[in-house]
């Protein structure tokens, strides 16, 4: 039978592209229908539309499926605490790892410069911010982007020689990823603060909490992070803005080992207060988890899946699978959100941090539907709006996670493996939940909100991919 005659014997299932009245018309007649809220491909840019048409191939589809599977097959486990000097190649006291794509000192924003000046003091290379700045100006300080060192860091993302780092191992592929400890809220180095108490706290992390955690993990053995992330999604976390459930789960897991390995009761109390007193304690572990999940996705030939989303406060940088470690950058956007008393949008620094690695594997802003409590950071007030963000992200991803599901969305998986083609096609860019630093160095956090990745870096990556693909 011809296809037209087959149609005459089927129930109509309609997609409507364009005027919504035609959608309503068929729905009124009890016909199943999907409405496409269509926008011009690539914002009506004919050159990009043509490029996208050219890149609509089975070869790329298959490569992206492989990238998606690689993400889903990851088995991230927390294995150890290592000092940066132990595991980062070429690390010395004069090397400072920072968030985002590489950039020169003069191009750095206030908080990033502030954090670096503090980090130099923390490493004992100077006794004052002025001395630190002289060292920077002398050219002795080497800046490296964290991603190039196998590490990630939230906000300014300082990773230096003496810092203890969480080590997450992806046992499916054998790769490891690192992230420093979360310092808590308020005046902290990740928000660019660099005062005495900031450096004191970092020293304590290095000498007390870090070693204690290392010993505890030696007793506990590897801890499955996939399980914690999945459970926390069911507890209302999206693990970027909100880590309340994940932090609690982790503390519940680790406490019985910590009490075995810390002899001094007073110190044990201090450690307990610290790890139980910070809702965002798990964030840094979630970030190392993201890095461990995303790194094996790199260098899959013909794949347009995003393997890195990261910001240095000046530029937003992304990497895509087929193009390995090449950065594609565009100026960062200003987050929108809510401010602590005494602060306003004028005080906030533009978007910064490696923390968008969690969005890269489908949680954070992508899982906002599971964390209705955080949607109000955008000034909206309904759970539907949180769910709408998670649904929108489905449009730019290869598929849905089989492991990480959103209870409030009937247990649908989180959108996973961002396809650059779909981002450019729809103009819908990844949504990222984020903290906001004061734009001046040394002050710290002023609020929290959400931010969109800028479209331009996705366009640049697609163009570079197109050039390579056509050769």
């Amino acid at each position: 039978m011809s296809k037209v005659n087959e149609l005459f014997n089927q129930s109509l299932k309609v997609t409507n592209v364009g005027l919504e009245t035609f959608y309503q018309t068929v729905v009124e007649q009890n016909v199943s229908a999907v409405h496409v809220e269509w926008r011009p491909v690539a914002g009506g840019n004919a050159r990009l539309a043509a490029l996208l048409a050219k890149l609509n191939t089975i070869e790329i589809e298959e490569a992206n499926k492989k990238a998606f599977d690689t993400m889903n097959n990851a088995e991230p486990v927390l294995t150890d605490i290592k000092f940066a000097y132990e595991v980062i190649e070429g690390m010395d006291k004069y090397t400072i790892g920072h968030a985002g794509p590489p950039l020169a000192w003069d191009d750095m924003c206030g908080p990033l410069q502030g954090a670096i000046l503090g980090a130099i003091m923390y490493e004992g290379l100077s006794n004052s911010l002025e001395e630190s700045e002289e060292l920077v100006k002398s050219g002795k300080i080497k800046f490296r982007n964290n991603h190039s060192m196998g590490a990630v860091g939230p906000m300014t993302g300082m990773v230096t020689y003496s810092m203890p780092l969480w080590e997450v191992t992806n046992t499916s592929y054998g790769n490891k990823a690192y992230c420093a400890f979360n310092e808590g809220l308020g005046k902290v180095m990740r928000f660019g603060a660099n005062g005495h108490e900031v450096i004191e706290r970092l020293k304590w992390l290095e000498t007390s909490l870090g070693p204690a955690m290392k010993k505890a993990l030696a007793v506990s053995g590897p801890i499955s992070l996939k399980v914690i992330v999945a459970k926390a999604l069911a507890m209302g976390d999206e693990m970027h803005q909100r880590n309340t459930g994940a932090s609690s789960l982790f503390v519940r897991e680790i406490m019985k080992y910590l009490v075995q390995v810390v002899e001094d009761k007073a110190e044990l109390l201090k450690i307990t207060e610290f790890v139980t007193g910070n809702d965002q304690f798990f964030l840094n572990i979630a970030m190392a988890t993201g890095k461990a999940i995303c790194d094996p996705v790199k260098n899959i030939p013909n794949s347009t899946v995003v393997t890195t989303l990261s910001r240095n406060g000046t530029n937003f940088g992304i990497k895509i699978s087929a193009l390995g470690d090449q950065w594609f950058e565009a100026p960062v956007n200003q987050p929108k959100g809510l401010y602590f008393p005494g602060y306003s949008e004028e005080d906030a620094n533009p978007d910064i941090g490696d923390s968008a690695i969690v969005e890269t594997f489908g949680i954070g802003g992508f899982a906002m539907g599971s964390a209705p409590a955080v949607v109000r950071f955008v000034g909206a007030s309904s759970v539907d709006e949180a769910i709408a963000y998670s649904k929108e992200m489905q449009d730019i991803c290869v598929g849905l996670s089989p492991h990480f599901v959103i209870p409030t969305m009937n247990f649908v998986g989180t959108a996973t493996a961002i396809d650059v083609r779909k981002v450019v096609e729809t103009g819908s860019t990844p949504v990222i939940n984020t903290g906001m630093a004061h734009k001046k160095p040394g002050i710290g956090q002023v609020g929290a909100g959400i931010v969109r990745a800028p479209l331009d870096c996705f366009i640049k990556s697609l163009e570079a991919f197109g050039d390579k693909y056509s050769q």
């Binding site: 005459f8 009245t21 999907v34 409405h35 496409v36 401010y339 008393p341 309904s382 759970v383 609020g447």
Partner: protein, 514 residues
């Protein structure tokens, strides 16, 4: 001036409270405001912002809600407190939008719903072809409503569709009924054994509606788009649709409505009809009947005539002729209208449906000749300024000139209403001829809009009588309900006839007497 409120053991999450704080901060006259849980960190923040006194600070615990407002006056503080109370009481309204299934791309739609087999595309022309091809490649049959598609694009789409045996209705296809579902602009009509294919939207609507009024029913009603029968396209979709109807066991009789095809296309169609074992009735509007003479195809001049032939073939007999008025009554009507006119001479036909306008123009041209129009067949009678009617004028108000940047008059009747008033105030206007298209896709109350316009127009006629004649293209089952719509027109003093052809014929009879 600083005001503090402490609510003991009242927990709110910090996001809610930051939202409240920002609401308070937005009140003019408030210098600083914070609503926070009384943790040590927050208390420090509030103290350093100067909105919490040392004395109060010592009294709060982490489980207390602390409010601090610094403002220029007591009035502002009172307003802030009132605002805050409203915020606490405010229950968030959640709009349940889950019944609507919406996505952003065709790929996402395909993933969203298994087995999509049909697409309606109504995007701006320059984007529509590419998206239509995506639908076809996903195995969907397509109704392409958009216009401004190039000939090359149309050929590319139709070639792909023909190769893959898919319907590619359009571009510029407004109407189809498939498996009883009205798509685009279409009426709710009885199911039956008459299969239709049309190169025009309102032509197909009028045909399905008259068939329904005559007691017949529709198996499938397919569109091809207005250009399909031109030489450049070669009738690709017409031929595919005829094959489909020929092979459809539900279809016993086949009807075609279109403007006359190009010669070489006509040959192809007639050859195709020869291969079909079912009777075929064709209405090539304005075409020379000799074109189909000596073939198996039954030719008719009007859509009404085509409907009658089809129903006769479908049921073996015709039980109604749709004549609302006897010949005598019609004569009486003509006499009465002519006697009320005071030296006015001309007709103004103001149509929302393109094919209805074309049919009306043909009928009038045959009877009284020299009809000016924006869709004139003879260039001599093309209107130079569409805004100004000349002598006898018929306008298709759904034509590009009127729809540029405006919704189609079948959806938004305002433009036609304005034109009705304009023509009524012209002292030369004797007859205003109108259509009123019902069905899915159309305005919710087109007759109501026409009636309102006619009532306003009568005030502009300064004691002159103008004859208003209309037909309604619709059925009782249409959302607007035929009888309700007819009633509204009659109440406004409009003569209503059951078909466009009859309306145009009555208008012609009046004109012949002027």
């Amino acid at each position: 001036m600083i005001h503090n409120i402490i609510k003991h053991n009242a927990y709110f999450d910090s996001v809610t409270l930051m939202l409240f704080s920002s609401k308070l901060g937005g009140i003019s006259g408030v210098q600083e405001a914070a609503v926070m849980m009384g943790t040590d960190h927050n208390i420090e923040l509030m103290k350093s912002s100067g909105i919490l006194t040392e004395e109060l600070a010592s009294k709060v615990s982490a489980n207390d809600l602390v409010i601090g407002i610094k403002a220029v006056s007591q009035e502002v503080i009172d307003l802030a407190i009132k605002t805050l109370d409203e915020q606490f009481e405010n229950k968030n309204k959640s709009s349940d939008d889950s019944s609507k299934i919406k996505v952003k791309t065709i790929d996402a739609a395909v993933k969203k719903m298994d087995g999509l087999n049909f697409a309606i595309v109504s995007l701006p022309g320059r984007f529509a072809a590419a998206e239509t091809m995506k639908c076809l490649k996903n195995g969907m049959h397509v109704l392409l409503f958009s216009d401004n598609i190039t000939i090359d694009e149309e050929n590319e789409l139709k070639d792909y569709a023909v190769e893959n045996n898919l319907l590619m209705m359009g571009p510029d296809c407004g109407t189809a009924i498939i498996n009883g579902v009205a798509l685009g602009f279409a009426n709710v009509v009885r199911k039956g054994n008459i299969g239709l294919v049309a190169a025009s939207g309102t032509g197909l609507q009028e045909l399905t509606v008259i068939i329904d009024k005559l007691g017949g029913g529709i198996s499938q009603a397919l569109g091809t788009g207005g250009r399909d029968l031109k030489k450049d396209i070669g009738g690709k979709m017409m031929l595919l649709a005829l094959d489909a109807l020929a092979n459809d066991p539900e279809t016993q009789v086949i009807g075609i409505v279109s403007k006359p095809p190009a010669k070489e296309v006509m040959v192809k169609i007639l050859d195709k009809v020869k291969t079909i074992a079912k009777p075929v009735v064709a209405c090539f509007l304005g075409g020379d009947p000799s074109l189909v003479e000596g073939t198996d195809t039954i030719a008719t001049e009007t859509i009404e005539e085509a409907a009658k032939q089809l129903v006769k073939l479908s049921k073996g007999e015709l039980t109604t002729d749709l004549q609302l008025y006897s010949e005598e009554e019609l004569n009486g009507l003509v006499e009465s209208e002519v006697s009320k006119l005071q030296g006015q001479k001309y007709l103004r036909g103001l149509y929302t449906g393109g094919t209805l306008a074309y049919e009306g123009m043909l009928i009038l041209d045959a009877k009284v000749g020299d009809i000016y129009s924006n869709i004139a067949m003879n260039k001599e009678f093309g209107l130079k300024d569409v805004e100004v009617s000349l002598e006898n004028t018929v306008l298709d108000m759904g034509d590009d000139y009127f729809t540029d940047g405006m919704p189609h008059p079948m959806i938004e009747p305002k433009l036609r209403s304005e034109r009705i008033k304009k023509e009524a105030s012209d002292p030369e206007t004797a007859v205003i001829l109108l259509d009123c298209v019902l069905g899915y896709g159309s305005h919710e109350d087109p007759a109501g809009a026409v009636s309102a316009a006619v009532q306003q127009a009568k005030e502009l006629q300064s004691n002159r009588h103008v004859t208003y004649i209309a037909s309604v293209c619709g059925t009782e089952k249409d959302p607007q309900v035929l009888s309700d719509q007819v009633e509204k027109l009659k109440n406004a003093g409009i003569i209503v006839l059951p078909t466009n052809a009859q309306a145009a014929q009555l208008a012609a009879r009046i004109l012949e007497r002027l």
